[in-house]
């Protein structure tokens, strides 16, 4: 059985799906990802689906599940690199991948995760962060 590699980049876990997803691969990925989020304490998950030609309802549900699992573990999920043909097919099928954030490419995805984290910090303790940033230099 093929396994999808999970790479850690700074505070983000990068999952690049290069193989056709089977039920087993998907379940394995969910388990692996949950473990890695807990083990590394990362707060962002980026799923790169550039290589996927076909996204059906099964893969769509898998993405939703992964997003929900990450949310519970306090990590933000961003799906990046969806192809135009895939997006059109999903719209025609009426699957809108609710609750999943998307970005055009990995770079934008990382920016999005960083921006979301910054917003969260602002919302929680805006004053403290100001103090921190002024103290750093």
């Amino acid at each position: 059985m093929e396994r999808v590699p999970i790479l850690k980049i700074g505070d983000i876990l990068l999952v690049s799906i290069q193989v056709d997803m089977s039920d087993q691969t998907a379940i394995q990925l969910q388990e692996d990802l949950a473990e890695r989020i807990v083990a590394t304490g990362c707060h962002g998950v980026i799923i790169d689906i550039t290589a996927l030609d076909i996204v059906d309802s099964f893969v769509g549900r898998m993405l939703s599940t992964i997003a929900s699992i990450s949310k519970v573990l306090d990590a933000e999920t961003v799906v990046v690199g969806m192809r135009p043909a895939v997006a059109i097919t999903l719209v025609e099928l009426g699957l809108s991948l609710n609750g999943i954030r998307t970005a055009l490419n990995v770079e934008r995805g990382m920016e999005l995760v960083a921006a979301t984290r910054a917003d969260d910090w602002d919302a929680l303790d805006g004053d403290d962060e100001d103090a921190e940033t002024t103290a750093t230099p």
């Binding site: 135009p84 997006a87 059109i88 970005a103």
Partner: protein, 286 residues
């Protein structure tokens, strides 16, 4: 009434014996119908070519235009009608170029009357009718090809995706949006988003004459697809009447940003991306 091989030979003989007189009379009749829109020399060349291939076909014992012997004759006819179609002549004018030979033939045959003249003429006439129909079909095929080409060119012309700003692309839609065009627009826009890595797209519908539920559906689909890919869409260029139609039809754009003009949409995007736009104070000449 089908033509026999014998009659076919007789037609070839008749045509070749009176070549000059026949082609002259033929050219005259065609020229009268075209009213000088084709040069006499060009017309004469076409008629002679047609005449020659009819003789060849007759000598080979042509009985039906669809026969294997009719290949060359069919090619000549197809070329004639293709040219006429491209030059802008009507279908009847093209067909008359073929039918005109009947008059010339009838004159000839009346002079040399024999027992089976009438029978022969009816048979020849049937063949010429077939030729006329064939030109008509070729003509229509050429015209259809032209129309298909033009439709394709129009499709390519009418959906440009332009870059407005770093990370902002716009699609100015012009003309009625049907399913085929909406599909092309959608694909091209999404591909451009990927190619340029732009997270914002503006769909400008200033040039769309009417927005009905179907057009709105197409636009909404494009916006949702762009969102799935991680880009935001703004719809701009909604004219007052169109706004009224949209409300009257009960179309919901949901949380999709709509702006009255392209300028407003661009300003909105720039604000989202954090670009400040301020008017520079005009420099005073002292």
């Amino acid at each position: 009434m089908a033509m026999s091989a014998e009659q076919s030979g007789r037609l070839a003989r008749l045509l070749s014996e009176h070549t000059d007189r026949l082609t002259e009379r033929w050219t005259e009749t065609v020229a009268a119908s075209l009213r000088g829109r084709l040069s006499q020399a060009e017309l004469g060349r076409q008629v002679r070519e047609l005449h020659r291939s009819m003789i060849d076909a007759g000598r080979n014992g042509l009985t039906d235009l669809a026969d294997e012997h009719g290949g060359e004759l069919r090619a000549v006819l197809a070329e004639l009608s293709t040219n006429r179609a491209r030059q802008g002549f009507s279908a009847s004018e093209t067909a008359i170029s073929v039918f005109a030979v009947k008059d010339a033939l009838l004159e000839l045959m009346e002079e040399n009357k024999a027992d089976d003249t009438l029978r022969d003429f009816v048979a020849f006439s049937a063949l010429i009718d077939q030729m006329g129909l064939f030109t008509f079909e070729s003509y229509v095929r050429t015209r259809e090809g032209l129309i298909a080409d033009q439709a394709e060119q129009l499709l390519e012309l009418s959906t440009p995706v332009v870059k407005l700003w770093e990370g902002v692309v716009a699609v100015p839609l012009v003309g009625t949006l049907d399913s085929a065009r909406a599909q092309v627009v959608m694909e091209r826009l999404l591909q451009t988003l990927v190619d340029t890595g732009s997270p914002y797209a503006i769909i400008d519908i200033t040039g769309v004459p009417a927005v009905d539920t179907q057009v709105a559906q197409h636009i909404l689909k494009t916006v949702v697809a762009a969102r799935l890919m991680g880009a935001d869409c703004i719809i701009s260029g909604i004219r007052p009447q169109i706004a009224q139609t949209i409300v009257a039809l009960g179309i919901e754009f949901g949380d999709i940003a709509t702006k009255a003009s392209l300028a407003d949409a661009l300003r909105h995007v720039l604000r989202l991306t954090g670009v400040e736009t301020t008017a520079r104070r005009p420099r005073r000449e002292s």
